[in-house]
Symmetry: D2
């Protein structure tokens, strides 16, 4: 039985665990002010071409999102997001709990456009009761999106330009950034992201670490006192080294990109299998999450032997489901699954 339901079913890449072992007895200052965190931050600034950026390590994605967004916005401001954005749907109202509305835009694959952002902004400005409405202050995007889609460089450039014209911060949630940057057809890289966004994070938890996300702040306005916010929101680990050590290893010799690329390849094998089988894809994802539309009676058979995630019911007694691969997904297990598939 192989779990394809998520990309956090296993522990961490073994090199990360080994590094934790090797450094275990070294005494360090707490709260992320240790040499490992500093070195990892330097490395991240280097590969982002952003020597002046601030880098902070937070424990998880919801934590990163709520800390970044509440640090950036004034009380009357809201954050624009895709309707299916993680902050809008799957964080139990974490953003609202910090006082801010999530202003949603319709989308199929989780991507939003510069034109949509512009329209929201302008409708706010033009409305005679604008002071009675939440003021847009930030745009939140995820890359890849919750549906595995990736932004083109042109799309991100347009979003960035619109945000700057409208005085909106652009924040990119990179929970699965490694999968996006190593996807077939990807036109983005860290330097471009660092140049176009005001703040973003490089995801660790879903890309091979036990936990941890690296928040990169490039806009100087957003830098002051960020560590206060991390502490207040409960995201500052006493043993901050746990995150620094892992990121140091992930970034050594491009391990991060290698393992994400591997997961993408495993996902594409699954995708080809689905297509061969004649199943439609809800979204044409090029990353480690795949969204086939599968007849319910077949799903019953699959789930006897494998796990996947149910996304939504679909017409014709079918369902959109999610199959996910990770750094740990073994090619033989995928082949086995594909073989089984033929019988369903």
């Amino acid at each position: 039985m192989t779990a394809f339901n998520c990309d956090y079913a296993e522990g961490a890449h073994e090199k990360l665990l080994k590094a934790l072992m090797d450094t275990n007895l070294v005494q360090t200052p707490g709260y992320g002010e240790d040499a490992y965190c500093y070195a990892a931050a330097e490395q991240i600034k280097k590969i982002c071409g952003a020597p002046d950026a601030d880098v902070h390590f937070l424990v998880g994605g919801t934590q990163a999102n709520l800390t970044v967004i509440s640090a950036a916005l004034r009380p009357h401001q809201g954050v624009i997001s895709a309707g299916c954005g993680h902050i809008s749907v799957h964080e139990t109202g974490a953003i609202e709990a910090t006082g801010h509305k999530v202003l949603t835009l319709p989308t199929l694959d989780g991507k939003i456009t510069a034109a949509q952002v512009k329209a929201v902004y302008e409708s706010h400005i033009r409305d005679s009761s604008y002071e009675h409405m939440v003021k847009p202050g930030m745009v939140y995007i995820s890359n890849p999106t919750e549906y595995g889609a990736i932004y083109e460089k042109e799309e991100l450039t347009a979003l960035s330009q619109t945000c700057r014209e409208c005085g909106l911060y652009l924040y990119l949630d990179g929970a699965r950034l490694g999968y996006g940057l190593t996807a077939s057809g990807n036109t983005l890289d860290l330097l471009t992201i660092a140049a176009l966004c005001d703040v973003f994070y490089i995801g660790g938890t879903k890309c091979g670490a036990l936990c941890g996300e690296a928040v990169v702040i490039t806009n100087p306005v957003l830098k002051p006192d960020f560590r206060y916010l991390i502490k207040q929101k409960g995201g500052m680990l006493a043993k901050g080294r746990l995150l620094g050590i892992q990121f140091l290893e992930l970034l050594r010799d491009d391990l991060y990109f290698q393992i994400c690329s591997h997961a993408n390849q495993m996902a594409l094998m699954l995708k080809e299998g689905f297509v061969r089988k004649g199943w439609e894809l809800y979204v044409d994802s090029v990353t480690n999450q795949q969204f086939p539309i599968i007849p319910n009676e077949i799903l019953t058979k699959i789930e006897a032997e494998h796990t996947f995630s149910h996304i939504m019911s679909f017409s014709g007694d079918r369902s959109v489901v999610r199959f996910c691969t990770s750094w740990a997904t073994a090619e033989p297990d995928v082949r086995e699954f594909l073989k089984d598939m033929k019988e369903w």
Copy 2:
């Protein structure tokens, strides 16, 4: 020039001002614990047939909404509302600022149905990541709605029943309740509302008072410590008598219903005029707000002499606009407007 843009363009009905004058030098305890507030509360309990209800006077509608909702919900719960609900669109994120998400339902006229509520609730229960999603805790409706529509008794009964089955509080925003209860075709009354809702408010500000809304809590679970919440949220007037005295007058000899009924009649005269003119109505409102769809070039002419509210652009170079009447709208002014209309 007559203002039709809102129902709060004038001061208060003169009987209310007179009562303020007459009682001015009487010394009373502060913070709503005076004899006027107590008497007004008793009167409200009586006409609602709810002797055990708690009645509190708050200064305005947003204040009432944010206090009631944040008093009732636990931090992870949200409130279900029409997409065009006042709390969703026109309170600058007041509800989110208290930590709670507004879960919106699509609607044309501002009314939501029991079936919609049931569907949201069930989708929450069924979803495998339900703990990652905001839990519905309350249903917010307004009667009349932001588009002037009113709930049928059957509709409210069905909503109430669904809420009770699902463990959701039902809250009715009655900012314009007087207009709803005196509308042609209305099937609701205060007794029914008090019996079907867990909490609601009888609006004063938009129905002839200088300010003030009377929150009526019928569900005993929602009663404890409500005054702490009023104070914390800034809604407890030192001179609480200002609200009690006004409500006492509004409720004396049915003044409240008389003045609202008058406003409805004035609105219906406008409505007939719009229809006669061949202008479509965005919503078929029976209350004091009317929403004609008017060619933009004509709007330019109207606004030279009268005020109204722009709601949204519409196809064919037309716009949906709002015309509003109040207790103070004079029939000669309406007739004058209707006469002018012929020339446009």
Copy 3:
């Protein structure tokens, strides 16, 4: 029986009520954008010598405090206050409800010093775990204080200078400002306050209005988008004119200062009576609140005929109590009280 328990036992000065009557049928825009509010704001800017200030009318003191403070601070910042400060003790945690800690300083009469503020600020800076502690962002003072004391010009100047050195906003709560500025020995005036504070408010509710406080923002950093915050926190009245009209009258021909001066005189008559009687004063107040320390057995006699506020128990079977006068306190009633006093 005369109530001396507070300065909000009556309605409003009759000139204010009359103005409400006289303007009642004039149609105005809502939400504080009417000609009365604009004129009152202009008048306030003029008497404050602050032509560039922003003036906003809010409904009450707690509302003003929570809106100003939450508008000014970032989430990790707190506000420094006297331990007996209104925001610290008597607003049901309104400031904390917006997410901010109140950092308290010990004081007897409610006044805090520049040296105390400096010490708090420096201890924060020096502490090695400063990021684990709330960062001071604002200083809150009230003038007169909750114990009727007033700041000397030199004291306020020193506070202001320290705040500017430390990057702290200085906010003055003027709920009873009129009493302070007309007190015997007062060295402050509106121009000085406007020059030394970043934001302050001129209290209406406790100085002769039905309700209403005029927030004056002189620091340009604090101005943007303040109306959004008023709306979000529930402090924006639909009929904002209610506040503008009252302030216009209060400021006409110095009515505000005349009625406050009258109240002070009445309070000083009471004070002399207390002293003559041999009762100690908890604080040597020069404003409309007096704090005698009275034997409990005598209090029992007093409260049979008059109301006052119990503040705290004191040694020797005595209690600190508060006697308060207002614009409406009549000299004959005070004389009557003083005559009665002789028998106790």
Copy 4:
């Protein structure tokens, strides 16, 4: 050079790391719903004698505190704490950021008494403006306290009884619980704590784990929907197993208590050295934190070779400092330090 500044200078006990290694490739469900978390929870319920308790694993202490407290309180309620309590001083206002005031009590060693709690509660009830004040809803204590002191069984029993009489929840922060329960003279155990408190947590981060705290909820009222709150506040790890696996190891063969006992012994060796040297102790701690008062000139010499924490300046050119031991403190290093001490 040995670091004595904190108990989180190293990684985790090697058995925990080994268990992470051994289980690394096992696929599990996410978000704390894996077999390791379940088994660890069962083990905790067993050693607490609380089969009906709910056990949740959170990532750190601030996270645990803010989640527990905000889950338990209504918006107008506050939490009573020692003035030096962690939630009051060293969590950057995390509790206030969730909307709740921390009501502080004076204390020298961090312990508060039943009598103090009773007094706060009664003063709230008696005060005529009680609705204008934050209502106490919970009592927060830490054991050991921030100054290393431990509660006697009688003291905790009295606190618990008072809390139940007053309708206050009792919450024990056990960030260093292992050190307290293995301290010389300790009279508490897990069964007693589980019986007397409504909710408490067993600290992992400061007792040998990489991170993680086990929240134990015994009061049924506090159980519902707690996982929603964990998620909302950002404390729910996707790879929740990281916490379950570590706690399983900590609880195997009493490892948790052994390593904490060891740290206490190391701390007592330091304490004896300080006393021998003639240095006063600020608090007579029996746990792994020691607070000697040391002349500043000697501190300068010590810090050339060792780290410790500065707590506060003291009279006579001395300072209160903190020396801390952990599971990893080696006896030879302590002996070396004691030998060095003789020369200072």
